[in-house]
Amino acid sequence: MRPLPGLNLQVAPLARLPVAIGAIAFLFLGVFLVYPLWCVLSASVLTADGSALTLQNYAKVLSRTYYRASILNSLTIGALASLSTTLIALPLAIGIARLEIRGKLVLIGLAALPLILPSFVGAYALLLLFGRSGVITQALNAWGIPFGSIYGTPGIVFVYTMTLYPYVLLPTVAALKAVDRSVEEAAESLGSTPARTFRTVTLPLVAPSVLSGTLLVLIETLENFGVPAVLAEDKTILAVEAYKLFIGETATNPAAAAVLGSLLIALTALILLIQRRYIAGRRFATGARRVPPPIKLTAPWHILATLYCWGVVLLALVPFFAILTLSFLEFRGPVLHRAFSLGNYAELFSTARGPLANTLILASLAAGLAGLIGIPVGWVLARTRSSLTSVLDVVSTLPFAIAGTVLAIGLVIAFNSGGLVLTGGWLIIVIAYTVRKLPFTVRASSAIVHQLDPALEEASVSLGVPPLVTFLRLTVPLMLGGIVSGLVLTWVTLASELSSTVVLYSGPWRTLTVVMFQALEGTGAGVAVAAASLLIGIALIPVLIAYRLLRANELSML
């Protein structure tokens, strides 16, 4: 350890590797996350020629009821969806954690699935089933039964509830299982009835976990693009309007898009801040020494509970099964015929072989890159404590709160001209994907490292193996199981990414999700359904293969 030339500063021998990793991560996130976001913010507060600061853009956008409504709509839908998600998931969590439901293991596996199934596909399925010309709508109409509209708020909230409930369910189940039985026994020994104990002791203990899941749902709903893009119709939604203003079929208006984008960032970042500062840290780690015994219910109640649990979980999967079924039926234009056919797939493979390959290539590259950066960063966060690592922690969590559309808009503004031009190519999509998934790989990796005894690495170093080699030869092999499952999950969710792709793709780099998105407006419903089924397959098959490596709590970090 020589003093650096010209600097009276000694770099700690052990700290060199974390510092190097941190530097690379800061560089990457600085250039591809912070700078683009900065571009969005500055575009929103600069005059058109960029010469002066102004609040004109905000004034203009906010003076239009159309855009004010989009903010209000986004928040209303977000609030309704978070509420309904929590109300659905809480009883389900209690059932899974505390009742003897038949087939519980399968149930919890199935309950985690919506996290990897594209919500966009779920919305699309709903449209095909209950839309104006949907299969079920038409059948109902044929029998003379009127059917209301699923467009707008009801459909969107329904899809969010069915695809996001695991965000509340999984942490709540974990929290319920971590409640120490003796705390409940203490309450009962003091004369509390079991029901009262549950209300006054157990629920308060798990409340922070529930609430923190609820807030994550709220963030997801605010930044989601695919679901409102399919179901909103004339309802304005923040993330969609920002996209329209930026890509616009008529006149584009980047400044106004930046205003909506900045507002969206402000909202989601604020919620993430609340979630991390006030709620996530408040989880009561009671660490169950004795897991509470199952609650005994009378037979009718037990049957009811079983039906409820299985009902919710299966209902959430129905749209996906429906899509799979529909994909084998014959479409003529947008119209469905009840005849078995492989025509959709034939058409998909003849017209969309490129997009399929693109999806696989882009997702693989990005998953690899997210792993390459995220795994070492997770190790640093788990192993070193300093003010710099807390900043790294915050910055690497930030993408979670950034809507894909907004990040993509930022990337376009930032790398459309100047020294580094990326727009129009594949690299910018890979970068957007990597940035978006980094919070997951980082958190997955640090969770694994936390379970590894740091003395193992010290033992290796004390035997003469340098830190970097120790990391590669000892730490990475020990993390391998977790790394593989984390990367599979990353890959799977990237294959169905829409919100940033839709802004960033260019001619040769369309993905399957873009094909589906375009089919919504055109006539290619058959291709879209086949593509959606393929996406479901892409999501399910690796997960089923890697099932033994996966744990539900990893899914909850997605």
């Binding site: 350890m1 021998p13 010290e458 033992a459 004390s462 035997l463 193996v465 120790t470 020990l478």
Partner: protein, 361 residues
């Protein structure tokens, strides 16, 4: 092998000074122990030597070579961790070979040296086992073999026995000491167990709040503690309160309760000073009826409060005439029937008394 010189080593964590300006020299081939209560900075000092914690001030050398500027993997140390830190993804042989491979030792030599190391810790034939197939004591031996096989300059052990049961701990400490003597390797051993420290060490540094309170041989720190803290930490001790009645030259009269005794005076004691006098329970003996004190002995009158038989020892709780308690321990002797309520005379040699200024209550 080499000596270790630590000069003015300092290390703090946030507001805690974990190691404050420690200076000491550990001789070539010495078995040296860092002993002290939890949180006194033993581990931190050991990790400073290993390089896992960094010095804020001071320097550390092995022999004539300054090493605190080297990263840990270049210091050539062997380290044994409290929880063994055996790599779970490698076999026993793989664990032991790990450091050799890092040094690019030729293949043939690796397997030979692994075999030798296994033999050294009496694990011959277990090389192909996986760590989860070994008992705690065997894992401990693998950890030692892994640290020794690289022929380190110094061997560092941080509470290596604390995860073992009491019996095994006694066996293993003997084994470690024998191995160390055979190899003559400079060893720094961290423990909070004073009996373990006394049993294996050539010298002991008793630490408290980041400082070295006393450095000396096991006999020194036990019999001639340098402070009240050391006296109390090294085992049960009686702490009597006395007042210096008068001082004449090298002697002083000290009043303990109602008795006045003459003692050697530490140079800074003056008339009226209050003292703590420490004397170990086993240094006390009960005088037989009519038996007088020997030369250099002091006698105090006491009443037996209770009596405890614990096999090899009999422990008595006594009360002095001023009400203060006194503990006495003696080997089990059937001839000394003592019963609660008996009034007895208790004698001890003045050379067994350690005198300190009275600590703040």
């Amino acid at each position: 092998m080499s000596s270790i010189a630590i000069e003015g080593a300092r290390r703090s964590f946030a507001s805690v000074l974990a190691v404050r300006d420690v200076t000491l020299k550990i001789e070539d081939g010495e078995f040296f122990t860092l002993l002290g209560p939890s949180g006194c900075g033993k581990t931190t000092l050991l990790r400073l030597i290993a390089g896992f914690a960094e010095l804020e001030a001071g320097r550390i050398s092995f022999g004539d070579t300054r090493i605190d500027t080297l990263p840990p993997h270049r210091r050539n140390i062997g380290m044994v961790f409290q929880n063994y830190a055996i790599f779970p993804n490698l076999t026993v042989a793989g664990n032991i070979a790990y450091g050799l491979k890092a040094r690019n030792v030729p293949r043939a030599d690796v397997s030979r040296r692994v075999e030798e190391a296994l033999a050294l810790v009496r694990l011959t034939g277990l090389g192909e086992r996986w760590p989860h197939q070994l008992s705690g004591g065997q894992l401990q031996r693998v950890a030692i073999a892994r640290a020794l096989v690289i022929r380190p300059e110094v061997l560092l052990l941080d509470e290596p026995l604390s995860n073992l049961d009491a019996r095994l701990r006694v066996d293993m400490r003997g084994e470690i000491r024998q191995l160390q003597q055979r190899l003559g390797i400079t060893t720094v051993y961290v423990t909070h167990d004073q009996e373990e420290a006394l049993a294996v060490s050539q010298r002991i540094a008793v630490m408290e709040a980041g400082r070295i309170e006393q450095l000396g041989s096991p006999e020194d720190v036990y019999r001639r503690p340098a402070s009240l803290f050391v006296a109390r930490f090294m085992g049960t001790t009686n702490v009597l309160v006395g007042v210096v009645a008068a001082r004449q030259g090298a002697h002083m009269d000290v009043r303990i309760g109602t008795t006045t005794v003459s003692l050697q005076a530490p140079h800074d004691m003056r008339g009226g000073d209050r003292l703590n006098l420490c004397v170990r329970p086993e240094a006390l003996r009960i005088l037989g009826i009519g038996e007088g004190t020997k030369d250099g002995e002091i006698a105090l009158a006491a009443t037996i409060a209770s009596c405890e038989f614990i096999g090899p020892l009999i422990r008595l709780d006594l009360t002095l005439s001023d009400g203060s308690p006194l503990k006495l321990a003696m080997l089990d002797r059937p001839l000394h029937p003592a019963a609660a309520g008996d009034r007895v005379s208790v004698a001890f040699g003045v050379d067994r008394v350690s005198i300190f200024p009275q600590a703040a209550p």
